[in-house]
């Protein structure tokens, strides 16, 4: 209980310290910022060890050895070495070794990403765009897609008909940016509400 109380007071102090930046930059704000970054990094390291390295490497190695599955045990040495090689980026003379695990992860990422982009994004979105021209909404989608793509077509100068179509494309792009900006404003205000809710609900019990 007292731990919760200390935690709440600490969180409230840090929140106010972060808010103080709105007046102007100050040491209190910078201290809170450093604490946040430090704790996040520390937490991530602990989590990586507890949920990643220890169960999937150390424990798994022990378990496989215990079960006399020597191949399954010793094959774990490869990812362990690749992981250690990644850390060599911090030693200038040995940086080149870190390219091996990097190339390995890029290979996996590219292989998985290529299929996902085509199968999971491009094709479904193209199929959804190719709608029958029977409603005004569908017609607007066609106009929006064609004019926006024309705006991003830079192999031809945007003059004459191309220029007119590209300018219509700008309108669609601006509408999309407007919708995105509106949602972004809502998101930022929501975060502010969240902090004030914490201050006036958890810290000072002004909100029931």
């Amino acid at each position: 209980m007292s731990g919760d109380l200390i935690g709440t007071w600490l969180a409230a102090t840090l929140t106010i310290a972060i808010f103080s930046f709105l007046y102007r930059d100050n040491p209190l704000y910078r201290a809170a910022e450093h604490v946040y970054v430090g704790i996040s990094a520390g937490f991530a390291v602990i989590y990586a060890w507890a949920f990643d390295v220890y169960p999937m490497l150390v424990e798994s190695f022990k378990a496989q050895l215990g079960a006399k599955n020597y191949f399954e045990a010793y094959i774990l040495v490869i990812p362990a070495l690749l992981g250690l090689a990644m850390l060599l980026r911090s030693i200038p003379k040995l940086t080149w070794i870190s390219r091996w695990p990097i190339s390995f992860t890029i290979g996996i990422g590219a292989g998985l990403g290529l299929i996902a982009a085509i199968q999971g994004y491009l094709l479904p979105q193209i199929f959804d765009t190719l709608r029958p021209l029977v409603t005004i909404n569908n017609a607007i989608i066609y106009i929006g897609v064609i004019t926006t793509l024309t705006y991003f077509y830079f192999s031809r100068e945007h003059r004459g008909l191309t220029g007119v179509v590209a300018r219509i494309g700008i309108i669609f792009i601006m509408v999309a940016f407007g919708a995105s900006f509106g949602y972004t404003v809502m998101a930022r205000v929501s975060l502010l509400i969240g902090r004030f809710y914490f201050l006036f609900h958890d810290w000072l019990p002004l909100i029931r």
Binding site: L22, Y23, S40, F43, A44, Y47, A48, F51, D52, P55, M56, I108, G109, L112, G113, I115, A116, A117, Q119, G120, Y121, P124, Q125, F127, D128, A176, A179, S180, Y183, T184, V185, M186, A187, V189, S190, L191, L192, I193, G194, R195, F196, Y197, F200, L206, I207, R208
Partner: protein
């Protein structure tokens, strides 16, 4: 008339940002304290998400992925609580996981809170399998066997020691996947689990991400979308249990009204000053 008003508009258009912050603080704090009642209109994407859970038969397995961290908690955490309430009310089995290590404790907090409200028991009605690295490789791998990545729950207890988990092996055994995301993780679930394994997915995301999700909703790649604090309040309305999101909506409305007024004042000041020049 215009000449006399011009200095006033000019002053208003170049108002100190700290005064704007103060005004914003007042319009956010006052509604939170006064707590006025406003009607929440439920949008179609949120209703679709609700229906996806509502029509699941009892004991179906729902996997909830915590793909946000504390920086987005004010928006997404109310969604998690509302969805958990809905799942437990419907007697669905919940598997909690996450792609962001920093977000997992938030999932645990919500589980502890809501399971108590519905007398749900860990291991029998829900489990938390925690976080494993691998992201996209993990999403594809679950399509084959979940135990390749999660042999145990987050406390190290083997999955097969939980009765309902014995029948869960891959996406075929998961009736619905809920991704609560503040970044591109939702896209990854849709593209890897949805497109490849036909996994039914609903997305709850921050306001910043919501516009990017409508394309998936339109193409029926997701079954529902809960966007931002507004979406969370709509879901709370549907589960008939108002929470932090519903409480925050009046403040959201007054803050938006203030921003619109400031935008109008700023633009009038800008136009008049430009004309004068």
């Amino acid at each position: 008339m215009k000449v006399t008003l011009l200095p006033m508009w000019r002053t208003l258009a170049s108002i100190d940002r700290r005064i704007i912050y103060l005004l914003l603080t007042i319009v956010v704090v006052l509604p939170l304290i006064i707590h006025p009642k406003i009607k929440v209109r439920v949008s179609e994407p949120v209703r679709a998400a609700f229906k996806s859970i509502e029509k699941l038969p009892q004991n179906s397995v729902v996997m909830i992925s915590i793909d946000f961290d504390p920086s987005s908690a004010p928006e997404v955490q109310p969604m998690l609580i509302a969805i958990l309430r809905h799942c437990f009310k419907k007697n669905l089995k919940v598997i909690l996981t996450g792609q962001l290590a920093l977000g997992l404790p938030l999932g645990e907090i919500a589980l502890n809170q809501v399971s108590g409200e519905y007398n749900k028991v860990y291991g029998k009605d829900y489990i938390n399998i925690g976080y494993r690295p691998g992201s996209t490789a993990l999403m594809v791998g679950i399509g084959r066997e979940i135990r390749d990545f999660f042999k145990t729950d987050y406390q190290g207890v083997p999955l097969d020691s939980f009765e309902f988990m014995r029948r869960v092996h891959n996406y075929h055994d998961i009736a619905l996947l809920v991704t609560l995301a503040h970044g591109a993780v939702a896209d990854a679930w849709i593209q890897y689990a949805g497109a490849r394994f036909n996994q039914k997915i609903i997305v709850g995301c921050t306001g910043v991400n919501a516009p990017n999700m409508y394309q998936y909703l339109s193409a029926q790649q997701i079954a529902g979308l809960i966007g931002g604090l507004q979406g969370a309040s709509e879901y709370e309305t549907l589960v008939e249990k108002p929470g932090a999101a519903t409480l925050g909506m009046p403040a959201q409305s007054t803050a938006h009204a203030l921003l619109i007024i400031l935008l109008i004042i700023g633009n009038i000041g800008f136009i008049l000053t430009k004309k004068k020049k």
